[in-house]
């Protein structure tokens, strides 16, 4: 059976989407699954930082693939073989986790903006990543808001996780995304609340948001100064597995793994 595509999206920036995506992918890889993470946020890539990949180590990227200069095989960065520089990341040694990064070189980002995107090629890249690496799960870190790359990844997803903060702007934006996801027939639509103030009643937040969108809220993650202090230097949930944020994140992992 073909691997599952899990798109992680938020209508607005700053929701912690890349952090959540990287940690989710890492936790799923820790269960022994073969996992890929694609950064389709070509305009403002960032998830590579969480996997300890910087410009000096970055080889071929999604940008090269979209320009026909690289195959997906050449883009895959084996995280399990490059776990240095982080106590949390070191736990991924030997795990089957690959990152497919987007370029952080200014010229390559501007080239995509200037020349546009071949969506046939982008979709072929996403699908062939699953087959070439024999993945169980492919996580897609999308650009916030709704653009065509995001819509394509939503349309091709088995699971869509929409991240929102308990904030009125996020709530309104999420309702747009939920409507579109439903009209694209995404089979498993999940919500995840991040950055909830500790003074809130999390169970109440979960119930209210679940009722508002008629979709399961997989977890409510607290606003955490410890996570902010980590400054994307490491995979927080691996480094601090007993932290409330990590425990809440693992409830999302259970939802993902439960999808048949």
């Amino acid at each position: 059976m073909k691997g599952k595509i899990v798109s992680v999206h938020s209508f607005r920036g700053g929701t912690g989407k890349s952090n959540v995506t990287a940690n989710l992918a890492a936790q799923v890889a820790m269960t022994g699954k073969r996992v890929g993470v694609v950064d389709t946020d070509i305009q403002s890539p960032g998830i590579h930082v969480l996997f300890g990949l910087d410009e000096s180590k970055m080889g071929k990227t999604m940008n090269d693939f979209l320009h026909g200069k690289a195959t997906v095989r050449e883009i895959g960065f084996p995280v399990g073989e490059n776990t240095g520089g982080g106590e949390g990341r070191s736990k991924l040694a030997g795990k089957d986790l690959w990152l497919f990064p987007s370029s952080i070189r200014g010229r390559e980002i501007s080239q995509i903006l200037k020349e546009g995107v071949d969506f046939n090629l982008l979709n072929e890249g996403l699908q062939s990543t699953i087959t070439e690496f024999d993945l169980d799960y492919l996580f897609i870190d999308t650009h916030p808001g709704l653009n065509e790359e995001t819509l394509l990844s939503i349309a091709t997803s088995d699971i869509l996780i929409i991240i929102l903060r308990p904030d009125n702007q996020d709530l309104q934006g999420t309702s747009v995304t939920v409507d579109i996801a439903r009209s694209l027939d995404v089979p498993n639509l999940f919500l995840l609340v991040n950055k909830a103030l500790p003074k809130y009643d999390f169970a109440q937040v979960q119930t209210e948001i679940q009722q508002k969108f008629d979709a399961p809220v997989t977890s409510v993650l607290p606003l955490s100064f410890d996570l902010a202090d980590n400054a994307s230097n490491d995979l927080f949930s691996l480094r601090f597995p007993e932290h409330d944020w990590s425990k809440a994140l693992n409830r999302v992992v259970e939802f993902v793994l439960a999808v048949k």
């Binding site: 903006l113 200037k114 546009g116 969506f119 046939n120 065509e148």
Partner: protein, 124 residues
């Protein structure tokens, strides 16, 4: 001399240059057409027997009849949202997504930006 696969590949690429559907249009499609497009997006390409096989594997309530499937394929290929390559049962169907055009900013802006970025050694 180009082989049959090269010729097919060229035929596919030529067809993909024409028309195509945008990811946003997918949301506007009638359910039967959208169902096929979603399947095709995941499988990349399928011939008719394979499409029937995949269709038979989904729950009966969501399944299209052979007539509905045929009708949907005709509509999708007429619109050039699916490309049909080859003839008969061996013909394959492939999604044709419309390319996102590049920025409409004046070319001078891009060349100025490019020149500026070239000066940054880490970007070369």
């Amino acid at each position: 001399m180009p082989g049959v696969f090269d010729r097919l590949d060229k035929e596919i690429k030529d067809k993909q240059k024409e028309g195509g559907i945008t990811p946003l249009d997918l949301a506007e499609l009638p359910p039967a057409l959208r169902k096929i497009m979603r399947l095709m997006l995941r499988e990349l390409q399928m011939n008719y027997p394979r499409l029937c096989e995949v269709m038979d594997a989904i729950p009966e309530s969501d399944r299209l009849s052979r007539d509905e499937l045929q009708e949907a394929l005709t509509t999708l290929t007429q619109q050039q949202w699916l490309n049909r390559i080859g003839e008969g049962e061996k013909a394959i169907y492939k999604v044709n997504l419309r390319r996102r055009e590049g920025s409409k900013l004046a070319a001078g802006i891009w060349s100025a930006l490019d020149a500026k970025l070239k000066k940054n050694p880490s970007d070369t």
